[in-house]
């Protein structure tokens, strides 16, 4: 195992600093900010409302649509041209798929629920931060969810499984790097998003999935704390 000490000194299973806040976009049905190290994502939920085009509507449930976007000044290098790209459209789609399994939207047939995700600063793990923010925003909006959704980019760097890759590790050039972005349901450990760039052995992949079960505990605690910060003080009578 050639990669034993992480570039920023973190332990192998240690996440970067995680922060979250709920209810940050006041005119939205639900919203949240989720921060993982230097990656900062905002999510806002609008709906249930009409679906366009109408042909996309489903007769017995609402359709969940996500719109992932990186702000033009959010990338560490050159400016990112605003507007949807193939990459952002793909991330939007897998984000929706990562969230759908926990949602019960059958009370809002033929309508659409839109989640808008904006990254204001990026340092790897952007789709994961977006998913964590989106899950919080959906809970804030009051949709029926049978679990939260936690996402983080696991990595296999030169044979070592690590949690929460940052950009420096993504760009590590002294050995092979596999970037494994995953979303997981904290209670069951089930995986709802899995995308890997780079190569890793089957053993390492499974090791990463198992390690993630432990790593997301921190994310879940931060998400829970953010929701309770907004709602938890209530003792109506």
């Amino acid at each position: 195992m050639a990669y034993t000490k992480r570039l920023d000194g973190r332990k192998l299973d240690e996440l970067r600093k995680v922060e979250a806040k709920v209810g940050v976009i006041k005119t939205a049905a639900g919203s949240a900010m989720f921060r993982m190290g230097n990656t900062i994502a905002y999510a806002a939920v609008r709906g249930p409302r009409e679906v366009f085009p109408r042909s996309m509507a489903k007769p017995d449930t609402a359709v969940l649509r996500c719109y992932y976007d990186m702000m033009a000044f959010s990338g560490a290098g050159e400016r990112v041209r605003p507007g949807p790209s193939r990459r952002s459209k793909e991330i939007s789609m897998v984000t929706a798929k990562a969230l759908e399994p926990v949602l019960d939207l059958t009370e809002f047939p033929k309508s659409g629920i839109d989640v808008f995700i904006e990254l204001i600063q990026t340092d790897a793990g952007t789709r994961c931060a977006g998913i964590c923010a989106a899950a919080l925003a959906l809970a804030d909006a009051g949709f029926s969810m049978k679990d939260m959704v936690c996402a983080v980019a696991m990595g296999v760097i030169d044979g070592t499984v690590v949690a929460d890759l940052d950009k420096a590790e993504e760009d590590y050039d002294k050995g092979p790097v596999a970037d494994l972005a995953m979303a997981m349901l904290p209670r069951s450990g089930e995986v709802t998003l899995m995308q890997m760039d780079g190569e890793a052995s089957q053993e390492h992949i499974i090791e990463a999935v198992e390690l993630m079960k432990k790593s997301i505990k921190k994310i879940y605690e931060v998400q829970k704390k953010a929701l309770l910060e907004k709602y938890g003080g209530v003792k109506d009578e």
């Binding site: 047939p109 804030d140 009051g142 949709f143 969810m145 939260m148 998400q223 929701l227 309770l228």
Partner: protein
């Protein structure tokens, strides 16, 4: 062995495990998943015997038969109006349910309600596919004139109204405002002057935003007393 993992009145998040074992039963806002009862809601635990219910602290409006709602006319055809009630489907108000007056076939429906008019109506029917019919033909249901509209989280409506209307009565009495609270989270408010309207609005929004940690009634009363100087307003028309 069955085990309760939470207490009555505890605030829980979606996905949180409420109880283990088969002794407990899930009610609204909770489901059974294998051995566990879990919350599907962001809300407050309500225990009664073996039944675990979650009272939501936030939700999107879903119409139930009998709900009194505040909505506005979005569109109309020759025989009915489409009313926006803040739900994914518009509610339909048909000619026969609009008023106790007889409306002739072919009459100009805009004489009764036209685009943008607000009204208090009641949900008469919700089909399995969530088509919604409303009626205006009951006492207290009517078109709204003047006043302003505010939006709150539908989950907070029961608290804003209070037990048998007690909370909203306190707000009405101390500000002299006419207030109609729709189950759909849309509120119509009309007061004797702007100052009282703003006080009533703020009292409502404080309940909406879950700002209170203890004694909602006492805190609301204290707030109102402080802002209005303790004056009570006489009997006002029921809106």
């Amino acid at each position: 062995m069955s085990k309760l993992l939470i207490e009555d009145k505890e605030v829980v998040i979606p996905g949180q495990i409420l109880a283990e074992g088969m002794d407990y039963l899930p009610s609204n806002g909770a489901i059974r998943e294998g051995d566990n009862i879990i919350s599907t809601s962001m809300g407050v635990v309500s225990l009664s015997g073996r039944l675990i219910k979650i009272i939501p602290l936030t939700k999107r409006y879903v119409p139930q038969i009998g709900d009194v709602v505040v909505g506005f006319v979005k569109d109309l055809t020759y025989s009915s109006w489409f009313i926006d009630i803040g739900y994914s489907n518009d509610a339909v108000l048909s000619m026969k349910d609009a008023t106790s007056d007889f409306i002739e076939r072919g009459a100009d429906l805009t004489q009764y309600f036209s685009h943008g008019d607000y009204m208090v109506a009641k949900i008469a029917n919700v089909t399995k596919t969530k088509a919604v019919d409303i009626t205006m033909r009951e006492p207290g249901l009517k078109k709204l004139y003047g006043g302003k509209i505010i939006e709150v989280n539908p989950a907070r409506v029961p608290r804003i109204i209070g037990k048998q209307g007690s909370m909203i009565k306190i707000i009405k009495d101390s500000t002299g405002c006419m207030i109609t609270v729709g189950q759909n989270g849309i509120i119509w408010l009309k007061g004797p002057d702007l100052k009282n309207e703003l006080i009533a609005t703020e009292a409502i929004m404080r309940i909406n935003e879950c700002s209170y940690t203890q004694g909602l009634t006492e805190q609301t009363e204290a707030f109102l007393k402080e802002r209005t100087g303790g004056k009570q307003h006489g009997v006002h028309q029921e809106a």
